[in-house]
Every structure is written in structure tokens, then in C-alpha cells.
């Protein structure tokens, strides 16, 4: 077990190192970011000063060392647009994004798992097929189209829900719905498949033969086993969820990290973008490793197979 954890942590460290280095190289790959940052009509001397100020005239290796030194000291520079420390800009945004993500995750599990079980048990019934069809639609409708559709109906036509902002619970309804549709759809499909696999197992027949009620058979013997691969899939979806949130936050002017990063890309605000990519990527990688360790705790087969 220790060896397994150590292996995972080592891989995580290597991954994080690759991410940091890739971000460093990427932001310096195409000549000088200075040209995007400076006001037009800047003279050559001013440009040289700015390059020297940001340390962009030094050798790449030296810049790399400085980059790590700054990271270690928690100095990530100032946002070019707001002229404030990127860490401060982020701190203001992070809770908004987290609350959106957690709400989406909760809704996804609360709706996806029961529907998945239902479609597995009520196979080839009208309602089962209807849910599956809806799940297929949820897969194909991109989140921003769904978001716009919701806006059109509930904000502009009916006027029931606010179109932007995140102040009240009402503000959450549309973004969470638009973001979770895809994940509910995929969770329904995975839960269904996993449940179907489990339903045909010998131990299910044994449980029924013992005279247990159908409820106990399905929930205790079936679901418990079916959920292991479902949790794995949910973990893999974290990256997709973060990607989706970037788009949804932009649509609803949600004051979160995704909205910030898109803005930073459009305005080529490198310090913000660089820091954002680093933080989000590292968080996601860490979450994935944690989940990985968690499954090996739940399901010893994982540990034996991979470790």
C-alpha cells in the first residue's frame, strides 16, 4: 500500500513539474509578450526598459530559475489589466467558481445516479427509453447553447430568473442546470451500464434466492458494487467539468476563475493566465490523485491490478 501511494505521489510530482515547465516555456515561446502589453507607439528605449524590467532579456535558463524562485516565494506578479497581485485577483474569484462546481456536482449525483438505476431496472419500458433519449440529447447539446436557451426562456421571455450575477440562489439555477446537463447525461449512461453488469452477477441471484426484498437486493448488493466504476468516471470528469465551467461562467457573467481566464486570454493578460492555468491544472491533478488513492481504499482490486 505504501509503495502504491509513493508511486502515485511521485507521478503527481512529475506531472506538476511538466505543467509548470510547459507553462513557462509556452508563455515565452513566441518572442516577447511585451509587444502585446505595451501601449502603441512605445519607443525603442521604453520597450527595452520594459523587457529588462520583466527580466525577459536574460538567458532562458536564468529566467527559468527566477520563475521557480518566484513560485517558491508565492510571487506571481501583477495582473496587467488591474495592476494588482494576481493572487489577490484570484482569491476574490475562487469561491464563486468553487460554489458553482460543488452545486453542479451535487445536482449531477443527486439526479444522475437514481435515473441511471431506474433505466437499468426498467429496461425496455417507455419511461426508461425516454430518459435514455434525454440523456443522449444532454450529450449532444453543448452547454453554451443550453445556457442561451435557458436565458431566452426564463430571463428574456418569462422574466423569472436573473440573467447574470451570482448573488442569490435564483442566480444559481440556470448556470447549474446548463453545466450539469452533460454530466447528468453521462452519469445516467455509466450508472446504467455498470448496473446492468452487476445485475447479471451470481451474487445478485444469490441475494434474491436468500429471500431478500428487491429493494435490499438492488440498493445494498447491486448499487454498492455498481458505484465503484461510477466514482472512477466521476473523477475523470473533473477535468471536463472545469472546462465546461469556463464557458458557462462567461455566458452568465459569473464572477469566477473561468470568466477571468477567458478575459485574460482575450486581452493577453499573461501573468493572470499563467497563474490561472498553473493553479487550476495543479488542483485538478491533485484531486485526481486523491480520488485514485480513495478508490484503492474502497476497492482493493484497483491496488492489486495497478500497484
Amino acid at each position: 500500500m505504501l509503495e502504491f501511494i509513493a508511486g502515485r505521489l511521485l507521478r503527481m510530482t512529475v506531472t506538476l513539474w511538466v505543467i509548470v515547465t510547459a507553462v513557462f516555456l509556452a508563455t515565452r515561446a513566441t518572442g516577447n509578450p511585451i509587444d502585446f502589453l505595451m501601449p502603441e507607439g512605445l519607443d525603442a528605449a521604453g520597450r527595452r526598459d520594459m523587457i529588462a524590467y520583466f527580466g525577459l532579456d536574460r538567458p532562458l535558463v536564468e529566467q527559468y530559475v527566477l520563475f521557480w524562485k518566484a513560485l517558491a516565494q508565492g510571487e506571481f506578479g501583477l495582473g496587467l489589466m488591474e495592476r494588482r497581485a494576481v493572487t489577490t485577483i484570484f482569491a476574490e474569484r475562487v469561491t464563486h467558481s468553487l460554489s458553482l462546481l460543488l452545486a453542479t456536482l451535487a445536482v449531477t449525483v443527486a439526479i444522475g445516479v437514481p435515473l441511471g438505476i431506474m433505466t437499468a431496472i426498467r429496461r425496455k419500458t417507455f419511461i426508461g427509453n425516454a430518459v435514455l433519449l434525454a440523456a443522449f440529447l444532454g450529450y449532444a447539446v453543448p452547454n453554451f447553447v443550453l445556457a442561451i436557451l435557458l436565458l431566452l426562456v426564463f430571463s428574456f421571455t418569462l422574466g423569472w430568473l436573473p440573467s447574470t450575477g451570482s448573488a442569490t440562489i435564483l442566480h444559481y439555477l440556470m448556470p447549474v442546470a446548463a453545466l450539469s446537463a452533460f454530466f447528468v447525461a453521462s452519469l445516467v449512461r455509466y450508472t446504467r451500464n455498470s448496473m446492468l453488469d452487476v445485475l447479471s452477477q451470481d451474487y445478485m441471484r444469490t441475494a434474491r434466492a436468500k429471500g431478500l426484498s428487491e429493494r435490499v437486493v438492488i440498493l445494498k448488493h447491486g448499487l454498492k458494487n455498481a458505484l465503484i466504476p461510477v466514482i472512477t468516471v466521476l473523477g475523470l470528469q473533473v477535468t471536463t467539468l472545469v472546462s465546461g465551467a469556463v464557458v458557462i461562467e462567461t455566458v452568465f457573467a459569473w464572477h469566477g476563475v473561468g470568466d477571468l481566464l477567458v478575459g485574460a486570454t482575450l486581452r493577453r493578460d499573461y501573468p493572470v493566465l499563467q497563474f490561472g492555468v498553473l493553479v487550476v491544472a495543479c488542483t485538478v491533478v491533485t484531486i485526481n490523485v486523491m480520488l485514485d488513492l480513495l478508490y484503492s481504499e474502497i476497492d482493493p482490486r484497483v491496488r492489486l491490478a495497478k500497484g
Binding site: R11, T15, V145, I148, V247
Partner: protein
């Protein structure tokens, strides 16, 4: 095997040749897919106007069937008086092209890398799979944002970004297939006969991994359409005035309360294209994967 085929009664042979019954949903998907493909191919012939031509006197015309509509603009016009039918056709064309080239780029790169990893093994394999792991553990939108911020947004950059999206998936699939095949007798026989690594890769391994690759290609194609439209929607894709389906939705967004038709057409098209390709991909997967047939 040959013997039984020869002695089998002719009826059985005829039954074997008969086509499977046509699934109506599949037929519909194929029909819609072909129609969309033809519309995209012949967009320059079908479009009544230049998609970027602005007519300030014909701004914000609603589609046919609504008040104030004009038969010359069946789907209406946008805020600059551009004909939406023409823009939808050209947008569809560009979106499909981008997704196709993106998927091809990813496939080519993934195939080469995956074959190398699978055939060489050892440290090279470990390195390549390590890079794949890093790629798969990142939210791809972040990578896309970074690349676009640095390289700017043009058609070439966009194809590259879309190609980057799924190469690791292809590489993993192809490596796994190659590993499965590597120990099979006929590969060994080819190697014993003195065939070069290149020849084994192209003549013996590649043809045998085509079907799962086709399935993955189709499913990724629909994902790329969604990814491209999302990037264009955010204003990070092809730059205006050139239309793609995503950018039409993105730019029409501001006019939604008063002119929802600007967004409606391209949004519906995106869903239609993605749904059709996805259904086809699903069907292909079920068709090739015998284990799933009973579901």
C-alpha cells in the same frame, strides 16, 4: 472453415449475404448527415448572398413566417444585415472543415506516437505514456486558452488546438491495440520472415486496428464540433467577420432579447450536427463491438 462454406446449402449462403434490416433511426441519421455534408460542400452555390455582405437597410429581419419578414432572407438577417441562411451554410462548412482537420491532425499524431510506443516499448513507451497522462489530466480548455493567447487565433492555430485535444486518446487506443497484436502469430511470422519494423507497422498492424480507430474518430469528431463551437462562441476561434456556427451564436448573444433568430439557427445546427455524428458513432461502436450487441 473453407470446407464448411463449400458444403453449406446455398440458402444459408444467401442468408449470409442478405443485408441486415434497416434501422429507421440510423437511416434518418445517415440522411441528415449526408444532407448536412452536401449543404456544407456546396455552400458557395446554395448561399443566396455573400455571407459577409452587410446591408444596413435590411438589418434584423426576422425569418419567414414572422412579421416584417422578407422572402429574400428565409432565415432572416443579423444586426449588420447579413443574410443568416448564407452565414449558416458557410458557418457549417467551416465548422465541419475545422473539426475534420482537427480530428485528422489528432489521429495522425496520436497514431504515430501510439505506434512508436507500442512497437518500441521500454523507456520510449514509458515517456510517451507519461506525456499522455499529463495531457489527459488537464482540463483541455486551459491548454486551448494558453495556446490561443500565445499564437493568436487563426484557422491554422485552431486546427492545431483541435488536433491537440484528442491525440492522447488516439495514442493510448492505438498503443493498446498494437500491444495486443504484437504477440500474435502472424506478426511474429512477418518478423521471422525479415520484414522491417516500418513494413510490419504499416502492412500488418495498421489494417488490423482500423475499426476501433474509426469508432473513436467519429465520436471525437462530434466532440470537436462542440469544442470548436465553444471556442468560437467565446470569441477565441476564427475571427470575425468569418462565420462559424459557434461564433454566430456568440455574437448574436447580445441581440437575444430582441432578435432571438440570430442565435436560433446556428445553435440548432450545432446540435443537429453533433447529434447526428454521435448517433453514427454510437451505431458504429455497437456494430463493431460484439459484446455490446445485446444492450
Amino acid at each position: 472453415m473453407a470446407d464448411t462454406a463449400l458444403t453449406a446449402p446455398p440458402i444459408a449462403a444467401a442468408r449470409h449475404l442478405r443485408l441486415p434490416p434497416i434501422d429507421p433511426v440510423l437511416a434518418l441519421c445517415v440522411a441528415i448527415g449526408l444532407a448536412l455534408l452536401l449543404a456544407a460542400c456546396f455552400a458557395p452555390l446554395l448561399a443566396p448572398f455573400d455571407p459577409d455582405q452587410q446591408k444596413l437597410l435590411a438589418r434584423l429581419k426576422p425569418p419567414v413566417g414572422f412579421e416584417r419578414s422578407d422572402w429574400r432572407y428565409p432565415l432572416g438577417t443579423d444586426q449588420l444585415g447579413r443574410d443568416l441562411l448564407s452565414r449558416c451554410l458557410y458557418g457549417l462548412r467551416l465548422s465541419l472543415l475545422l473539426a475534420a482537420f482537427g480530428a485528422l491532425t489528432g489521429l495522425l499524431f496520436g497514431a504515430v506516437v501510439g505506434m512508436i510506443a507500442g512497437l518500441l516499448g521500454g523507456a520510449v513507451d514509458g515517456l510517451i505514456m507519461g506525456v499522455c497522462d499529463v495531457k489527459l489530466s488537464l482540463p483541455f480548455t486551459l491548454v486551448a486558452l494558453l495556446v490561443i493567447a500565445i499564437a493568436g487565433s487563426s484557422v491554422t492555430v485552431l486546427v492545431l488546438v483541435l488536433g491537440l485535444a484528442y491525440w492522447a486518446h488516439f495514442a493510448r487506443l492505438i498503443r493498446a491495440q498494437v500491444l495486443g497484436l504484437r504477440e500474435l502469430p502472424y506478426i511474429e511470422a512477418a518478423r521471422a520472415a525479415g520484414a522491417s519494423g516500418w513494413r510490419i507497422a504499416t502492412r500488418h498492424v495498421l489494417p488490423n486496428i482500423v475499426s476501433p480507430v474509426i469508432v473513436m474518430f467519429t465520436l471525437n469528431f462530434s466532440n470537436l464540433i462542440l469544442l470548436e463551437s465553444a471556442l468560437s462562441f467565446l470569441g477565441l476561434g476564427v475571427q470575425p467577420p468569418t462565420a462559424t456556427l459557434g461564433s454566430m451564436v456568440g455574437q448574436g448573444r447580445d441581440y437575444m432579447p430582441s432578435a432571438p433568430w440570430i442565435v436560433a439557427g446556428p445553435a440548432l445546427l450545432i446540435v443537429l450536427v453533433a447529434l447526428t455524428v454521435m448517433m453514427l458513432g454510437d451505431w458504429l461502436r455497437d456494430h463493431f463491438d460484439v459484446r455490446l450487441r445485446d444492450r
